[in-house]
Symmetry: C3
């Protein structure tokens, strides 16, 4: 099965890759590496999740926000690679979570991104991850996710 077929099986429609929010581009390629700008939880042009985990938002909300960010990141990879089948490896997922000062479940939130990537890319989705919590986030986004991926020549 291709990643596109796995997405279909999961009942997920790949959105349009969101544009950048400033004087930069959503992804760049160098050699076989594609790197994305941070992906926010955009859905149909609106931020679907704003606010802080451990305050306005629950861990379940954060999981859903991380999954949505990752879906936008997958849309960027498709834009970069043409077909997701050309993605040879998800090398790294960078995870950033907006948090109240005492929120500790950052890894559980970011599993929303990791588990989607694992489901869609299978063995090729096995990624390293960085996880950070922040008390201020751009546009008050609940979660942001960056990707580093290796693609075919």
């Amino acid at each position: 099965m291709t990643p596109e077929e796995r997405l279909a099986e999961l009942g997920i429609e790949l959105p349009e890759a969101p544009p950048a929010v400033g004087a930069y581009v959503p992804w760049a390629r160098t050699g076989n590496l594609v790197v994305t700008s941070f992906q926010l939880p955009w859905r149909a042009g609106e931020l679907a999740y704003t606010g802080k985990l451990g305050a306005a938002l629950t861990t379940d909300d954060g999981y859903a926000a991380a999954r949505l960010c990752a879906l936008n990141g997958i849309a960027q990879l498709k834009d970069a690679a043409g077909e997701l089948e050309h993605v040879r490896r998800i090398v790294r997922i960078e995870g950033h979570v907006g948090c109240a000062p005492d929120f500790t479940e950052i890894p559980a939130v970011l599993n929303g991104a990791s588990e989607l990537v694992n489901a869609v890319f299978g063995e090729r989705g096995k990624h390293t991850r960085t996880a950070l919590g922040h008390m201020v986030m751009p546009l008050d986004a609940a979660v942001m996710i960056g990707f580093w991926a290796e693609i075919e020549e």
Copy 2:
């Protein structure tokens, strides 16, 4: 026009690449990639912008600080590549902004770095960007900027 000529046209003098502030080096090369350590808003050996956006500093201050950090990063790239013409692509700009808790204009601040890079490198300057706000910053720097760039063999 070369990047050096564009800098001259903008009336900007490229500073000396600032040294590291610890037991590390300012840039490293691996294959065609050059990566820098975080660049602080150093000017003539002094931090020109300290404090937090949304408190002691305005968004205009932050824009100028981000531009200065990026200028120091360009100096590192020149040190790494010999001539800026050997830079094939600015792959990623990493932006970090010292913020008061309710400051929301992080992208506007980081445009100070992005717009300088776009002006100096033109099409080759089209970069991805990561943007984060922080309530503590090393040396209380207002902004820090990291670069990933692809250079010629």
Copy 3:
């Protein structure tokens, strides 16, 4: 001397590479690059340093925590490369420190990681570094360290 011999000379035993804390992997390779997930200050399966610098922890504690994180990162590189002699260059160390709001000695803390890497890898250990302080950290870890390294074909 090999890096393993330098570790022995320093009286340091390389631990087992710690497993990931979520749906991801501890390291990935793309081309000649190995990248790790963030390393926490694990010792024998327990977090040896939790809490914030400038509050529960001193700068000396933080230095020791950063050194321990880096040791775990070196264990990941050995797992990835087979022998540490196959590491051609430590390209970047990413440093993240849990801080009280007024803590300013982040570079001194991260020297705990940098100085170990310099001692173990010598000329090949000359790395770039990123340094950030955070008021929330995953699992309340005092420090987290990520590695980017170039390894032989």
